[in-house]
């Protein structure tokens, strides 16, 4: 299938196989397509074996940090008598990222199945699926799917007669980017202001409602039924480059390409294939200028860096950026990099939760300095100031929102300094009114 356009031959369709197939949304349709076999199989396995299997598969968190999933599950205490929780992070709000949205829209049962497998593995009886507030259609689809799953015995007090209880609670966000940060998400579910928490304690020790909790991304969880059905070795074999990056990755390609959309590739696929084959390449007469490979929070790559970059965790790190959430933002030579970076910092300044001083004040100040440059009143000293602010905002706060605001500023000045200089020298027409 594929949505909005058919799958490209260079894709490896696993999670995206039924994107665009409305029948796959229904419980019956999903079962016809082989659904819920993974959950049935998992429920018959000893938990330790299940966790070892996911560890062996090499599956890593698809939300951005890339932490090994099986290892994360293994941090949960065993038989400690406390309630455990699984939180599914469906608050996909990283600018440039829209892969989880499609999983929620088209294959809700894949997610429910993955959630249930993970919940069983970590001895959680309750799953909170935290869905981004703006996701109206995904919310409706998920609500219907959860109802069907309960009605069919895939959820509830006795899942498929196994004696295991698994409940799913859908929790709708209210529009804060920061609630996608896992500890802020837990506060939000608890009814508190969505402020990130200090770690330690880590969620596996004291998470949601103070109880052992695991938080996994939608795409991560949706991958687990496949691993359970086809084995760790099969999953691990899907790797074209680094053995530390396995399986498939959904990449949301947006920006100046001919065919924006989600593409699912085997880890290690060349970036060139994604941009120029699957996504159709640049618009006529345009050339590639820059790529943000993992959502707006990661450093910007120049066209040269993207040239021979391989799409996996290690491949992108080798080029000075990160795979992050897989939101690939493509910019051609018509892009004003200064204005682009300003738009990102403005987003972070708006979304800062205001807890940490550096983030609360730094994101806003950075935005103001960029506005000054864009209004034609910048000074050379402003560039050093921006770098100093970025330094003060990096590695000093509770969560990484502040770092995320600083990353594009630093990489932008490093790689596209000429554009900043042009505004400052008056060689470019100001694009913003004076602040």
């Amino acid at each position: 299938m594929g949505y909005p356009h058919p799958s490209h031959p260079k894709e490896t369709v696993l999670l995206s196989k039924y994107f665009g197939d409305p029948v796959a949304r229904t419980y019956a349709g999903w079962v016809e397509r082989g659904g819920y076999q993974g959950l049935r199989k998992a429920l018959a396995m000893p938990r330790a074996e299940l966790i070892d299997m996911v560890k062996a598969s090499g599956l890593r968190g698809r939300g951005g940090a890339g932490f090994p999933t099986g290892l994360k599950w293994s941090f949960m205490p065993k038989d400690d008598g406390k309630p455990h929780y699984l939180v599914c992070n469906a608050d996909e709000s990283e600018p440039g990222t829209f892969k989880d949205r499609e999983i929620l829209r088209w294959t809700p049962h894949a997610l429910i199945e993955g959630c249930a497998i993970a919940a069983y593995a970590i001895q959680a009886e309750r799953i909170y699926v935290y869905i981004r507030g703006e996701f109206t259609e995904p919310w409706t689809v998920m609500t219907r799917a959860v109802e069907e799953a309960y009605a069919s015995g895939a959820l509830g007090a006795n899942v498929f007669g196994s004696g295991t209880r698994i409940d799913v609670v859908l929790h709708r966000g209210a529009g804060a980017y920061i609630c996608g940060e896992e500890t802020a998400m837990m506060n939000s579910i608890e009814g508190k202001r969505g402020n990130p928490r200090i770690k330690p304690p880590f969620p596996a020790q004291a998470g949601l409602f103070g109880m052992p909790t695991t938080i996994n991304n939608v795409e991560t969880l949706a991958a687990t039924p496949h691993i359970v059905m086809r084995g760790a070795e099969w999953y691990k074999a899907m790797s074209l480059s680094s053995p530390k990056s396995t399986g498939t990755k959904l990449l949301s390609v947006c920006g100046h390409v001919q065919r924006p959309g989600n593409y699912e590739v085997t880890m290690g696929t060349p970036m060139r294939d994604l941009i120029f084959d699957m996504a159709g390449g640049m618009r006529p007469g345009r050339t590639l200028k820059a790529i943000i490979p993992g959502g707006s929070s990661v450093p910007i790559m120049s066209a040269a860096e993207a040239e021979d970059c391989l799409l996996d965790y290690e491949g992108i790190v080798a080029k000075g950026s990160m795979l992050g959430s897989g939101g690939v933002i493509v910019m051609d030579d018509s892009t004003d990099m200064v204005k682009t970076i300003w738009r990102y910092t403005k987003f972070y300044a708006h979304e800062s939760c205001a807890q940490c001083t550096q983030c609360r004040e730094g994101t806003a100040w950075t935005t103001k300095v960029l506005e000054r440059i864009l209004s034609g009143r910048g000074k050379q000293a402003d560039l050093q100031l921006l770098l100093d602010l970025a330094d003060n905002m990096t590695g000093k706060t509770i969560c990484v929102l502040s770092d995320s605001c600083a990353a594009p500023v630093v990489s932008g000045i490093q790689k596209f300094r000429g554009e900043f200089d042009a505004y400052i020298a008056g060689a470019r027409v100001p694009v913003l009114a004076a602040v």
Binding site: I198, S352, C356, T363, W365, N392
Partner: protein
């Protein structure tokens, strides 16, 4: 968790219990880690990021307020990296700060001012941008919020949420638009709400009562004990030019931690009364004449000797134990009805701190009075006045009926006090006393803790402590008299008469007091 851990902080090895946070361990090493959001009586959110310190082998700077010590840890509070980080925080805090120190009540005791002066940048890089503006808001009966000065440390929010248990404050909005909000239709009128003013490290939360009253650097601070109720919260009395301008809590982890209630906080005005009795007054025939202390003390001795029959002794529960104890000895061995009045009010606990409340009994020295032979409640003593040969009033707070009963007494009346009253005109002898702010003394709180309060201001005219008056008479006249000359000597002499205090001195009590062992008749009241 009981084992000790040795760490090195700025080159100084210190050994502290495992589980101690670096910020507290640093205090043992004599190092103050600059901080804003951290407060030892509140949960730590680690949000101001001011206390970031360098810990060897850690990949990045760590917040000292939430990082536990570990064996062998080497911490640098004043390394270049840590100082740079602090300078960055200070710069961020200042960009939206109005820098209106000249008109700010907090100036002189402001942690933003102090740390910026200590290690901030010399000039701004913020340039021409407008600063965040929000209008001043009234939060409650005594609390103003000046949002422009706020650094969002959230101490006030956490105090109300986690200590007072009345979550009326919050952080509203996000990013650099954030400010402290108050729940709709709510007031910051909790009986302990005034503590948010003390907790605020900057001049953002202000006391209306203290507003523009005095500059912090003009104040003298004196360690004292709140005279408001039997809790005995430790306080500082802040005075300017012998005028009491405010009470503020003084830390005592065993009594009030870092807090005091609003009733206690506001209870200082009586210490500034201008209508004080400033000289001893004697009845001479039909006239009352002012006299000197030698004459007055002789007269007091005479009156005590010549009076016969039963004695009524009405005293104040705000008197020091020294005064209560020695005055009571003036009539030892006689048939005495000795009592203190105990006004009562509603109890108002501070939910988050065990055993801390504004107490029903609104006198500070109820236990001290009972240990020195007084009963609580004056009804029986008042009823005994018509039959008494001698009535002694010691600064008692009297009702109109009680005043009339004393004025109608047929026996001798000796009246000691601070301010004029209806009954003192009928007295045979009037002696001017000091208030608790004008002398050194002790109170015994409801848990039997004896605590010292120190003299905060000078006494008007010839006013003297009641213990001095009694001590002089008890010791008799003459150069060899061993009458106590200081509050400490008066306290040391108490043990001679009252075994509960035997062997104790002011020095034993220190700044936090000491609980009397097994001497209290009843359970803690």
């Amino acid at each position: 968790m009981s084992a000790d851990v040795t760490v090195t902080i700025d080159g100084m090895p210190v050994t502290v219990p495992a589980g101690t946070m670096i910020i507290e361990a640093a205090k043992h090493a004599g190092v103050l880690v600059p901080h804003y959001c951290y407060h030892p009586s509140l949960p730590s959110p680690a949000v101001c990021r001011m206390c970031l310190v360098e810990v060897e082998r850690a990949p990045k700077l760590l917040p000292a307020c939430v990082t536990q010590v570990a064996e062998g840890q080497v911490v640098h509070v004043n390394s270049a990296t840590a100082k740079d980080a602090r300078q960055g925080v200070l710069e961020f805090l200042l960009i939206n700060h109005p820098l209106d120190c000249p008109i700010c009540d907090q100036a002189g005791e402001c942690e933003l001012q102090d740390y910026v002066f200590q290690e901030g940048r010399g000039s701004t890089r913020y340039g021409e941008y407008a600063k965040r503006f929000n209008p001043v808001e009234e939060f409650g009966p005594d609390v103003l919020y000046v949002p422009n000065r706020c650094i969002l440390c959230t101490r006030c929010v956490r105090f109300m949420d986690d200590v007072a248990g009345a979550a009326v404050l919050n952080v509203s909005e996000r990013g650099d638009r954030a400010y402290i909000g108050i729940a709709e239709e709510q007031l910051l009128d909790h009986p302990w709400a005034g503590n948010v003013v003390d907790l605020c490290p900057v001049g953002s939360l202000l006391s209306k009562d203290f507003l523009h009253k005095a500059r912090a650097w003009d104040l003298d601070k004196t360690a004292s004990v709140c005279p408001g109720c039997t809790q005995g919260c430790n306080i500082n009395i802040d005075t300017r030019d012998d005028v009491v301008v405010r009470f503020r809590p003084r830390p005592n982890l065993d009594v009030n931690r870092h807090f005091m209630c609003d009733t206690g906080r506001q209870g200082y005005r009586w210490l500034n009364r201008g209508d004080r009795i400033e000289a001893p007054l004697m009845r001479e025939g039909t006239r009352t004449v002012a006299t000197d202390w030698d004459t007055a003390l002789d007269r007091l001795g005479d009156l005590l000797k010549k009076s016969t029959g039963s004695v009524v002794l009405l005293a104040s529960g705000r008197l020091s134990t020294e005064s209560l104890g020695l005055v009571r000895q003036l009539v030892a061995g006689r048939d005495v009805a000795a009592a203190i009045g105990v006004p009562v009010g509603d109890e108002a606990p501070l939910a988050g701190i065990p055993n801390l409340a504004l107490r029903r009994e609104r006198v500070p020295n109820l236990n001290g009075a009972e240990l020195t032979g007084y009963v609580a409640g004056t009804e029986r003593a008042i009823a005994a006045i018509p039959r008494a040969g001698l009535v002694i009033v010691v600064d008692a707070e009297l009702t109109a009926d009680e005043e009339r009963a004393i004025a109608a007494a047929s026996g001798t009346v000796v009246w000691m006090g601070t301010v004029a009253s209806d009954s003192h005109h009928k007295a045979h002898l009037v002696l001017p006393l000091t208030t608790m702010a004008e002398e050194n003394g002790t109170y015994v709180n409801r848990d039997g803790r004896v605590q010292v309060f120190q003299q905060a201001k000078g006494a008007p005219g010839m006013a003297r402590p009641a213990w001095w008056v009694a001590g002089e008479v008890l010791a008799g006249p003459g150069p060899d008299s061993d009458a106590p000359g200081t509050g400490a000597e008066a306290f040391a002499s108490l043990g001679h008469y009252y075994p509960a205090f035997a062997g104790l001195t002011h020095a034993d009590l220190g700044f936090t007091g000491r609980v009397l062992q097994g001497q209290l008749a009843g359970a803690a009241r």
